[in-house]
Amino acid sequence: MTRLVVISAGLSNPSSTTLLAERLTAATVEALEDVEVTHVELRDLAHQLTDQLLTGFPGPGLAAAQEAVREADGLIVVTPVFSASYSGLFKTFFDVLETGTLDGTPVLVAATAGTARHSLVLEHALRPLFAYLHAVVVPTGVFAATDDFAGTDLQTRVDRAAGELAALMGKVSRVDTAVTKRRTVDDELAAVTPFEELLRQASEGR
C-alpha cells in the first residue's frame, strides 16, 4: 500500500487551489497502483495551527494530519499565491511540523493565482522551502492561473508532474531513506539513546 497525502491551502469554496489538488491527485492515483489518499484542507485546521504556534502542541485534527504526513510515501502540496509567495497558512503548516518529518519524502509542489505573472513562485518560494526541509521535490511543479483552467495545456503538465511523483514514490522507498532521516522525539521515545552514549557525546562535543 502506497500512502499519498494531499495538502491544500485554498480558502474559498469552491477553491481553485483545491480543484488543482484534486486533478493532481487523480492523475497520481491513476499512475500508481493500490494507493491510499489522505486529503488535508488547511482551512479547517487554521485555528489549530495558530494554537500550536502559541502552545507548542497540535490539536487533535492537526495531530492526525501531521501523523498522516509522517507516514506518507509522497505529498502533493498546493497553495494560492499571496503577496508573491505561498500563503501564511500554508507556511504555518510546515513551520510547526517537527524537524525531519519530510526527510527524503517526494513532494509535488503546485500553486494557483489570478495571473500567470506569478508562475515562478514555484521556483523562488516553494522549491527552496522543500529543499530546506530535505524533501525530494518533483522536477515538474504545476502552476495554474485562472486562465489555465479553461485550456487543455494544464492537464498535460498535471499528468507529467503526477507521473514524476508516482515514479519517485515507487523508487524512493522510506525503508531506503530511513537511515538518513533525522531522529525525532517520537524516535527517541521509542528507542532512546543510551545514557553512556549521551555522556560520550557531551564530552566529545557533538
Binding site: 502559541l54 502542541f57 490539536g59 521515545l189 532512546v192 545514557f195 549521551l198 557531551a202 564530552s203
Partner: protein, 389 residues
Amino acid sequence: MQFGIFTVGDVTTDPTTGRTPTEHERIKATVAIAQKAEDIGLDVFATGEHHNPPFIASNPTATLAYIGAKTENLILSTATTLITTTDPVLIAEDYAKIQHLTDGRVDLMMGRGNTGPVYPWFGKDIRQGINLAIENYALLRRLWSEDVVNWEGRFRTPLQGYTSTPRPLDGVAPFVWHGSIRSPEIAEQAAYYGDGFFHNHIFWPAGHTQQMVDLYRRRFEHYGHGAYDEAFVGLGGQFFMRKNSQDAVDEFRPYFDNAPVYGHGPSLEDFTEATPLTVGSPQQVLERTLGFRDYVGHYQRQLFLVDHAGLPLKTVLEQLDLLGEILPDLRKGMAEGRPANVPDAPTHASLVAAAGGAKDSTVYAEADSATGHRAEDDVQDEDYLEATV
C-alpha cells in the same frame, strides 16, 4: 505521596484590573504563598529560576533559605534549577548550605527551562543545552559524593584537589529530580542515575506526559534501580477552583485568555480538554487529579501551579484554602489501591536511613601539600604582605 505547589515567579499584569505588581510585592507574595502552603498542610514548595524580566525568580537559594527560616515542615525545592547555565560548583555549595540551615528540608529539580538569550549572559551556548545538562550534573554528583574532586570537562575550568563546602548534611546529598517537557534524553538521564523524573504536565497533553513517564520508568528498571512501578515520578498540574464550577470558569477566563504562555490561543474549553488544566469545583479538581494515576501509574509528588497569569495574591491564597479543603481526600484517594512496593518520594530522613545512618562529613582543612601553607598563613606572611603593598 507528596503534594505541593511550584511557582515560576512571573510578574504579570492582572488583566481584570490592569494593575501590575512591583517586584517587591511579588517577592513578598511568594513568601506569603509558601507560608500558606505550610499552613494548609502541603508538603512541598518549589520555586523556578529565571534571570530576566518579567520574573523575580533569580537567586532561588536566598528565597528558599528565607522561607526555610519561616517554616517548620515544608520541603523546599526548585522548579527548576538551571543546570545548564549555573556553575555546578555553586549549586553544590548553595544547596548543601540550605540542607544544613533547614535540617535537610531541601531537594532540587534540574531543568533546562531557559530561553535563548539567557545562555550567553552566563557564558554558555544554547546549542549545547543537553550536553551542558549532562556534564554539569555529572560533576555536581561528584562534588556532593566525593570529598576531594579532580575533574576536567568541556564547559568549565578544571578542578584540582577541590573540596566543595559545606559537605552535604549527614553525608547525604539532596535528592534530585529532573524536569523536562519534551526531551527524552532528560528522562534517560534521570533513569540512569536512579533520580526522580518530573513532568511539567501543564503545557502539553496527557498522552505526551504518559510517553515521557513510561520511557523513564522503563529505563529506571533497565538500569537496575528497581521495578517499573518503583521509579520516582512527579507531576505538575494547574487548576482554578470555586465552590460553584461556573464561577470558577467565569473568574478564571480573563486570566487564561491573557496568560503569558498559552493566552490568545486555544479556548479555555479546548485547553482544559487537551491538557490537565481543571477549572471548576473542588470536587472536579479532586477527581481529575486522582485520574492522573490512570496514565502515569502510582506516583510520588504532585505540584500545582497556583500563582500565575496575574492572579492577585488574595485569590491565590483563596485557591490554597480550597486546596487545603480537598487535601485529605486527595491523600486518601492516592493511597487507595497503592501497591506496597511503590515507594514514597525520598526525603532527607529516608536517604539517611538508606545510607545506614547519619555521618558527619566535615572536611577539616590541612596544609597545602605543595607549599606546606594554609590559606590563612599566606596573608600573615611578611614577604607576601611586602609584595602586595
